[in-house]
Amino acid sequence: MSPCVFSVNFNTGGTLILNALELKNVTKRFGDVVANNNINLTVKSGEILAILGENGSGKTTLMNMIAGIYFPDEGSIYVNGKPVTISSPKDAFNLKIGMIHQHFKLVDLFTATENIVLGINDKHKFNIKDAEKRVAEISAKYGFDIDPKKKIYDMSVSEKQTVEIVKVLYRGADILILDEPTAVLTPQETEKLFTVIKKMKEDGKSIIIITHKMHEVLSVSDRVAILRRGEYIDTVVTAETNEAQLTEMMVGKKISLNISRSEPKNSVDRLIVKNLNLTNADGVKVLDNISFTAKSGEILGVAGIAGSGQKELLESIAGLINSSKGEVTYIDPSNNSKIDLRKKTPMQIRELGVRLSFVPEDRLGMGLVGNMDIIDNMMLRSYKNGHSLFLDKKPPKKLADKIIKELEVVTPSATTPVRRLSGGNVQKVLVGREISSAPTVLMAAYPVRGLDINSSYTIYNLLNKQKENGVAIIFVGEDLDVLLELCDRILVISSGAVSGIVDGRTAKKEEIGLLMTKAKGAKENEE
């Protein structure tokens, strides 16, 4: 590879414009998983480039490579036409690249200014008063609303984000990367942010914004780059495209997976959720008037961008969050009586047969203790059954052996600590245990995340078997192809609100994609 490749564009006037940033054939792998495959991306000076893609399409990984958090396995990065090596966040600062992460990196106890100057080692004398003045100057220039002396723990989410942006500008960044900046903002705050972004653009800065909200892409960006499953699809000029085209590029053509799906039999209402609302500690509405019905013998899929309220929804039903408002009614199959789950403790809800098999990002999740073996983990659900002082390990041992055999869990023995098992086997143990208790409602969140194909099919079959047994299954998934082949109905949520419920047999992938990216408030005029 020649080190002095200069990449230049000529605009119509014939003047030379250097690309602010250019990625060529960048590849990044995590173990066997290819997070980014051969990505080419160009950011022009003074433009706003939106990066669009589903969950797991590799957007954040790609941006982390530009910001120096990850190092690419292959490929090269050019800044202002020059090849560069970015191996740490410091290198990125020096190249005037700044990233505003989705999860803010701020010290709560420090003031805005202290956070902003953190890590800067210049020759100037350290003087917090001067720094405060500069922060105020930058804020005035771009129209930020920020008090340099305010402590972070006193700030709203939007203020914290402002601190992050000013932090990057203070270091003189010319290329700003914003990772889903609007995910935590109210519509008014989003509006404000976009005004600021446009001002920064006028000032000659290049801005990369990651988002999956279609209307934001269309309203703020100059061009859109689309990623799908770690592959670069295309970059299009925003003015020349539309929502439908973008959605299609984002979700891609439907892929057939051949997951078996039986017709629901004797379906009756099992769980009725009505007007569920929840506001989190930051004052953001995470659940917005959610209503749906889960039926026995049916798999109800839940589709949505990650963090749209899936976790909170399941936890509200399971009784783990009780600050939510609304109704959750369970219909007891034995006598058809209606039971208000909101008045029950998590333990009582479990005893009714409502099971939550929650598999969050950290794999071991909420259900298993990593340092305990499979047998002991089985006992986490049955420990209340015994009355003697000593443990009776026989039934859990039997159950553990049964799960290992039936679900083909690869483990040296039932006494192996679960943290030593691979991700797929951990999931099998968790799902297996929840199913073993003969639930009437089974909620599974991302049960196939990180699993290989075979293990995934084992889980699908398990769920299908439960469905045939008349269990009402709520399946939160991220892969639309799986949702479309496995689920009977699919509930689509966007920003904590139901944006649609579609039939799993007839719905189109693009249709769900559109519903997922639909903004709050936009739904009324589209339906």
């Binding site: 995590f30 958090i69 740490s88 966040p89 410091k90 600062f93 992460h101 990196k105 701020l106 010290v107 709560d108 106890l109 420090f110 202290e114 956070n115 100057v117 953190l118 890590g119 800067i120 080692n121 350290f126 402590k151 723990y153």
Partner: protein, 327 residues
């Protein structure tokens, strides 16, 4: 009046080892390392100084005051540095549990001190279970302010001590300014508050943790040295240092992690520690009075927890091993 002046003077002497220990521990804890090995490090600092002083006093014909101060001082710093580095290596590099490591180092340090203390006593073939470094101690106890003799009992109470009493105050004040007003101080605090943020801001978290823990450990070690060379007049006896290391850790909590606060709280604790000698109480009640420093620490802990003022809380990442986020 003279009794009061003498009491305060003793309280200052009693509080000084605590002040060294507390300042050292505050600097360490600001990096997020909860070093419970501080009592052990103070022991090791003391015995290292004693070993250096012992050989200097025994091997040389005439004892020069300057060398009598410097040799034990350097030995003390070296011993506490090595122990602190061991703690860092285990907790920062190998990511071992901080509490377990710290307690192990304290146990080790006390044993190390008693072992070598015992060995030195054996070398002397002494009949008494202690060894005495009078010549060295004399150099340490030399008054730095010659005018203190003319100042009456209250002047003496404050100005008649050896240099290490004032060094402890200077170190505490400098530590306070360092943490509050300097750039490295800000960076250090950020490491203890939120190492992931510090890391993302380009601060070398590992380096800061090593430096803060090592420097903090060396400062604490000086407390042990002071106790032997000044407070005990150069006399080492096994287990003589007692539980002062734990008292130093209690002072860290009592001073809500502020070195400036630790100066007065150390003297207060020192005063409470010896109070029973100066008031008339029956023997049976003495342990109750000795308990006072710990009781007030618990009260402070309760008060700060109830008030929930963010500035008065321990560093947010205290005791937490930092792993860089990996996928």
């Amino acid at each position: 009046m003279d009794a009061l002046a003498q009491f305060i003077s003793r309280a200052i002497l009693q509080g000084t080892p605590l002040l060294y220990g507390a300042t050292g521990e505050i600097i360490t804890e600001k990096s997020g390392n909860l070093n419970l090995g501080i009592p052990g490090i103070m022991y090791i600092g003391a015995i290292s100084g004693v070993i250096g002083g012992f050989f200097y006093q025994n091997e040389s014909q005439s004892v020069s005051p300057l060398l009598a101060v410097i040799i034990p001082l350097l030995c003390c710093l070296f011993g506490s540095l090595l122990t602190s580095l061991l703690y860092c290596f285990l907790t920062v590099t190998l990511k071992a549990n901080q509490n377990v490591t710290g307690l192990a180092i304290t146990t080790f340090g006390v044993g190390f001190g008693n072992f070598f203390g015992g060995s030195l006593i054996k070398i002397l073939k002494s009949d008494v279970p202690y060894l005495s470094l009078v010549k060295i101690a004399k150099a340490y106890k030399t008054t730095v302010f010659p005018f203190s003799d003319d100042m009456g009992s209250f002047g003496k109470m404050i100005f008649s001590h050896g240099f290490m009493v004032y060094l402890a105050i200077i170190i505490a004040v400098v530590a306070g300014i360092f943490l509050k007003r300097t750039r490295p101080g800000l960076h250090l605090r950020s490491v203890g508050e939120n190492p992931a943020t510090a890391d993302a801001a380009g601060i070398n978290v590992t380096l800061y943790k090593y430096l803060a823990t090592s420097i903090g450990g060396m400062i604490a070690g000086l407390g042990g040295l002071f106790y032997i060379m000044d407070y005990s007049n150069g006399i080492w006896s096994n287990n003589g240092f007692g539980d002062r290391g734990w008292l130093a850790i209690a002072i860290v909590i009592f001073s809500i992690w502020k070195p400036s606060m630790s100066i007065l709280s150390s003297y207060l604790f020192g005063a409470l520690y010896i109070l029973f000698n100066y008031i008339n109480v029956p023997m049976t009640y003495i342990p109750l009075i000795q308990m006072l420093p710990y009781a007030v620490t618990i009260i402070v802990l309760i008060a700060t927890s109830v008030r929930k003022k963010r500035e008065n809380q321990p560093p947010h990442a205290l005791g937490v091993t930092y792993f860089r986020e990996e996928r």
